[in-house]
Amino acid sequence: MKLQVKLALYNTLTKVAIILFTGLLILLSIEKISYNHIEVRLENDKRETLRDLSSNEISHYLNSQKVYTDYNILKEEFIIIRPAKYNPKTTSEVKFTTETRGADQNEQTYRILSHYFNFKEHTYRLEIGVAIESVEELKSIIKKFTLVVLVIALALTLVSDLIFTKFLLAPFYKIIDRKLIKVNDPMNFDYEKVKTTTQDFEMLDDSISSLMKKISNLFILEKQFIANVSHELLTPISIISSRLENILLQEDLSEGSENKMHASLKTLNRLKSIINSLLLISKVENNQFDKTDMVMIAGVIKEIHEELEDRMDEKELKFTNHIKYIYSIKGNRPLIHTLLYNIINNSIKYNNIKGTITINDELADDIYSIIIADTGAGMDERQIENAFNRFEKFDTDEKESYGLGLAIVKSITAFHNIKVKISSIKDKGTIVKLTFNHEG
């Protein structure tokens, strides 16, 4: 769930709780206060009634052992005095109850005071009631009111919270979008601060920037390191290889030593190839190439086909070129050549004898793709996943693979903004699709 929604929900829930709580509190206290008020009145009435006991009307009823009942006009109050079982010791205790009483099919809820008293050596039960309809009405009004307030408050809160948090979190999403999602290379990181008045976001922004700074410094260091190491290694290799060649010139050399010299030269050559590949990757990643050539893809493919023809013949491969479009991209010609060379070279290297290599292209919405398919060893999921890693080698009969070919492909495609996709089925073949971005 988004932080914005979470915050809004939290706010809403707390507000609901507060409103409910205050509503309940008001309801309860209103009941309590009005009952108290009513009870005080009832006690006063009781006192007054008891004082007026000797009044003609009431004493008449009592003397004749009858029930005295008196309702006022709207039946909002009543007094009932009826004889009870004789109890010589009555207390001044009073009891309050809430009851529904009916009179003339008109039922009402009353708060009733009951009291036992002795009068002329008889015990009577006095009940004084007051209708509490008005209190109940008030209660239901408050209930409705609370509900309405609750709903309105909820709606308002939710909307205002959503709007406010959206506004509040805008810099946060901006930081995420601009500083994390859109940055695929720490070297191109945008150090400009995102405008915000929230300190926390400033902190986030600053820490991301300083982290990126550290990362890009490490990147630069790594690139420099590779470039330097490669340079520093090529000269010693040159010395050793020259030395070996000089030793080979000696005429008294035994055949065994000569073989060993040549084997060593070969090893040195491998080393040279590895270093040159690493150097190339590092230079590409260092943006040390320019992209000013107009490179015609079909032309490059044709050139590579010619170059590799004898290797294809050797494996008796069938090479089919189905390129339909004359498409040029702006880039670095030698690099594009190396890119396609490595891919086609791989499809030769991992192909079966008498296999095929097919090259297709397509143009859709100004986006040009080239598809190179072979009928070779193929790769499984894990191998595809790791194919672009440096020094990743697969089980093949080829001893001279250093696992750098596809790493070079990766850096050149990244440099030219070309999308590369490998799909492959084990033992069936591999399809490499290059999609050229129109702006190169």
């Binding site: 040159s238 010395i239 020259s242 060649e245 000569e258 040549h262 004898d310 490595n342 290297k349 070079i408």
Partner: protein, 225 residues
């Protein structure tokens, strides 16, 4: 012919020196830009083998200085660890005659020096005579008497390289690199060089016996004259 090696790596300079001396060159050695400048002012050289990264400056500056001098015909071959195409282009455009990336093969260096010499002196010896065959470097043909032996481009390259390096064992790696170029991830274990050599020998043997075209087991090839 005299050669000036401008190279701060003493070890490498010594090896090149030893090799070229063995081939009959007179070799001098400068380890810094400054000492190279002094030597260049005093002497004319047939070849200057120029390293780009010098302790006290860039080899390109030496090249520029040299090209600024009058009446100099010193051939310059740049030797450098900077092997990228752009560097090569820059080196050649600034007036170098050739460009070799480290680590280079001494045989290739020698072959290139020979090629420069031929170009410079417009030698008749675009023709190399070998056992009744005539190899023309310029037209890239091999003739037997007046008959042209039909070789493919690659076959000619291989034969030409072996002839230029006659009496010397040339390894498959070396041959591959020379003929197919400094291709990344090249498969030197693969036998495609052998296929070409086999075809080449078959074609040649139709004209003359080729016992002088020797296969050195597990290493490479040698043309014995």
């Amino acid at each position: 012919m005299n050669v000036l090696i401008v190279e701060d790596e003493k070890g490498l300079a010594l090896e090149v020196d030893e090799f070229l001396s063995h081939e009959g060159f007179t070799v001098e050695h400068a380890r810094t830009k400054k000492s190279a400048e002094e030597k260049i002012f005093v002497n004319n050289y047939d070849f200057i083998l120029l390293d780009l990264g010098l302790p006290d400056g860039d080899g390109f500056e030496l090249l520029k200085m040299l090209k600024g001098l009058d009446k100099r015909e010193d051939a310059v071959i740049i030797l450098t660890a900077r092997g990228a195409v752009d560097d090569r282009v820059m080196g050649l455009e600034q007036g170098a005659d050739d460009y070799l990336a480290k680590p280079f093969s001494l045989n290739e260096l020698l072959a290139r020096m020979h090629a420069i010499t031929r170009r410079k002196h417009r030698l008749e010896s675009n023709d190399i005579h070998i056992k009744g065959l005539r190899v023309n470097i310029q037209n890239r043909t091999v003739m037997y008497n007046d008959e042209r032996i039909a070789l493919t481009k690659k076959e000619f390259e291989i034969f030409n390289y072996l002839v230029l390096n006659k009496n010397r064992v040339i390894s498959r790696t070396n041959l591959t690199e020379h003929v197919w170029g400094d291709v990344l991830e090249i498969n030197s274990d693969s036998n495609f060089v052998d296929v070409h050599v086999k075809n080449l020998r078959k074609k040649l043997s139709q004209y003359i016996p080729i016992d002088w075209f020797e296969t050195v087991r597990s290493i490479g090839y040698r043309i014995n004259i």
